[in-house]
Symmetry: C2
Subunit: 227 residues, 2 copies
């Protein structure tokens, strides 16, 4: 009985975790809009859970930065201001630069295979997929690289920040410039990574995130002064 490699345990997840997952999906997919008010009783009814459990789930999302708690008043889905976008972008830039350096320093063939596979998905999505697929592939590539850093806190922090930025991307429709540009950018991003050049990788990731941030902020400022 030793041949079993990966036998997933049945998902025994606490209900508040499950509720948090469900809510997170709804928020990130845009089903629940930024700024929306969440009330415990309503959610409890929809999830067929008690308020206490829903409350625990909401606390989780507060910790993730997706929901804001206002004492005795309610729970709101995060709405991103220009300041928020700036904060998230600068943080993301620093974290990705660190990840780029770490991964470039330690990458091996297995790591290279993971990066290349994620990049191939991105290239494929750029060819034939829709805009949503491209965004998914984009995020997946970045997540894969950050995951290769072997840095748990970096991975988690990056995930939270990426989610908050995604919240904005989902609510606005700032999707995709030309798909080729996205592909090319990422190609030059992973090149120093695969080559193991730490300094170049760090610089490339920092620049990539900064540029992405500038685009988001520009979009926000354009939206902030509507016609």
């Amino acid at each position: 009985m030793s041949g079993i490699t990966s036998l997933e345990p049945p998902k025994r997840q606490s209900l508040d975790r499950a509720a948090a997952d469900s809510l997170r999906r709804a928020i990130l997919s845009g089903l629940i809009a930024p700024g929306a008010r969440l009330t415990e009783a309503k959610l409890a009814e929809q999830f067929m859970l008690s308020r206490g459990t829903v409350r625990a789930a909401l606390h989780r999302l507060v910790a993730e930065g997706l929901v804001i708690q206002r004492p005795y008043s309610g729970w709101d889905v995060l709405t991103l201001t220009v300041q928020d976008a700036w904060e998230l972008s600068t943080l993301r830039s620093s974290l990705e630069a660190l990840a780029g350096r770490l991964v470039a320093q330690s990458i091996d063939d297995a790591g290279r295979a993971i990066v290349m596979s994620a990049y191939d998905h991105l290239a494929q999505a750029a060819e034939e997929g829709g805009e949503v697929d491209l965004v998914e592939a984009d995020m997946a590539l970045h997540q894969a690289i950050v995951g290769l850093s072997g840095h748990r806190r970096l991975r988690e922090q990056y995930g939270l920040i990426a989610n908050q930025l995604r919240l904005y991307i989902a609510s606005s429709n700032m999707l995709a410039k030309t798909t080729e540009a996205v592909r090319d950018r990422h190609h030059s991003l992973i090149a120093p990574l695969l080559a193991g050049d730490a300094d170049a990788a760090e610089a490339a990731f920092r620049a990539h995130a900064v540029r992405s941030g500038e685009e988001i902020i520009a979009h926000l400022e354009r939206a902030a002064i509507p016609g």
Copy 2:
């Protein structure tokens, strides 16, 4: 009725927040040791609160990274491994580098006054204070600088990481090399900041955090192979 400048509102804080604050102090001061097991019932009795409220407080500390939740099993105070120390140090380095750059870019006379005041406290603690005072002043200086960045998420993230590192400093007794060295290091740290040299400040903060991290890791590895 306009002369009132700072009249603190009566502390209307939810009980779970208050409980979390109390627990956090106990953990950071070393009163509760790393690795200690926390049980809801016991804490509820000590705080004279219900388990539900204690539970909410524990969830907060989990979000802060000071406590680990093991489903159906219990709550443990974080114990730092060498891996943890490496993760925290590398993250701290990146965040401080970002803070150094931002503050150097935007510092004004008011900001300079804050930094210099914090540095004076540090220098004074180095002269006459005890080791604990010096650590406090050290952290206060860094917190003050990060606060000047005007970056809420950066400040919060930095605070969490600093707390976790502090947990280690409190539990081990790796306090203070020569106090003069601490003072001198910080002097050369804030010099480019006050001068407004963003590149130099970023580099100085990164180097400072890296060195600090190396010391912690060295200490941990020494302790990991005990006599």
